[in-house]
Symmetry: C2
């Protein structure tokens, strides 16, 4: 397809395409410096604005990123692997381990900005949790930071009627976390639903996650169900898409 298509395309686009191919083929690896504006001007006989536009295309796609004063570099993509199913198995949280332990490998994942409060339930939450009029929820907000980079924002909603007086209403939920406490309260999570979407971040999300230009967020809404299909928690997560691979393994 190269030639016929190429001829219709603006010059900056053709330069961007050739750089992208060089990245995909491995000629430029993650973290490598790409040719600068001057290099591209000389190599392709184009004006500075054209060279700049070509680099902008790759930055807008999230393939490359500028570093101040140093040039444009191939983005490193060394994501966390989040295993949706194994990580929620009872063996994992039943034995007091964090449900995050499977993801971290040898990297340091820190939870910060933990805030717990009792609030009126947003309408969408009240509907899914099947709350009565005026019933409140315990809201747990926190941020996950990997190797110094924020990667995930999470907000959990649990019915106050279920969790009142338990460690779930404290910053530190204790060994095994929220799900171990729910089990002790008689609401052991036995089924999960995860719904996944992706879109561009809002300004606030981009700031909180230090997201580079041209990078979407992945939204995961997880609902935990106790026996008889009783919904006991909704966890709305916002992930830096450049930091995660989600994995689901299941039998036919």
């Amino acid at each position: 397809m190269a030639n016929t298509d190429d001829d219709r395309r603006p010059k900056y686009q053709r330069i961007a395409d050739s750089l992208r191919e060089a990245i995909q083929s491995g000629e430029y690896g993650p973290g490598d410096r790409l040719p600068g504006e001057n290099d591209l001007m000389a190599a392709h006989g184009v004006a500075r604005m054209t060279a700049r536009q070509a680099l902008s295309v790759l930055k807008d796609e999230g393939v490359a990123e500028s570093r101040k004063g140093a040039g444009v570099f191939v983005r490193s993509f060394r994501p966390l692997r989040r295993r949706g199913i194994q990580r929620l198995s009872q063996e994992q949280w039943g034995s007091g381990r964090s449900i995050w332990s499977a993801d971290i490998e040898n990297r340091t994942l820190v939870v910060d900005q933990v805030a717990v409060s009792e609030e009126a339930a947003p309408e969408r939450i009240g509907q899914v949790l099947d709350l009565g009029d005026g019933e409140t929820v315990c809201v747990r907000r926190r941020r996950f930071v990997l190797d110094g980079k924020p990667v995930l924002l999470a907000t959990s909603y649990l019915p106050t009627s279920v969790v009142a007086g338990s460690a779930i209403t404290q910053e530190d939920t204790g060994p095994g976390g929220t799900y171990a406490r729910l089990a002790e309260l008689g609401y052991k999570p036995v089924h999960f639903r995860e719904e996944i979407r992706s879109r561009m971040p809002t300004k606030d999300e981009a700031e909180q996650l230090s997201i580079s230009a041209g990078t979407p967020v992945i939204l995961i809404c997880r609902t935990a169900f106790a026996d008889e299909g009783r919904p006991v928690e909704i966890n709305e997560m916002t992930l830096d898409a450049a930091s995660y691979i989600l994995e689901y393994d299941f039998d036919a």
Copy 2:
């Protein structure tokens, strides 16, 4: 947080924030026309460029979209729900139904641009399918179009040594599709792995999927395993993120 934060922000950002809030609260619903540049200039006492920037913020986020000559509208988000686990269950494909049937509800999903060929295996594919040197793959490319809008590109790779001579090498794989044929060949898929990422589309992907500005793609790489963990198919999918919600349901 409204006031202290707001005061630091540029005017166009504050206008964008107020429009976004009006959208989130339902004041402007999907498909509704947003106030135009003239409206925003009058309402906020700003210059045209500021009004334009405010609308651009929402377009870059994928929240709104321009329609030529008609103004800026709230994006409709009426996605397909793709159920990752139930849809692959044997009852589904074992009885000859399409694995897509759960997703379509009353809408028309059409497969087009089907192309089948025998090719050298790309390195990443050869590694996962555990192919020997020079072993080729059957490559099935196709596009899924919903109500006239392309929503998904899919490329499946299967070892030629497994599928040669079967209907899998034809455009029409017959009732139950590829997985029913694999079962007949003695390679019934019994386990699946789906890996999910999200990033901005390449120019080619944006064209093939008619993707609006400010909209990412979701990548799903599905590997199907037969007995004894034998990998028999890799399906690399590229989805218009504005067209899909992925759902995974599973027990603890």
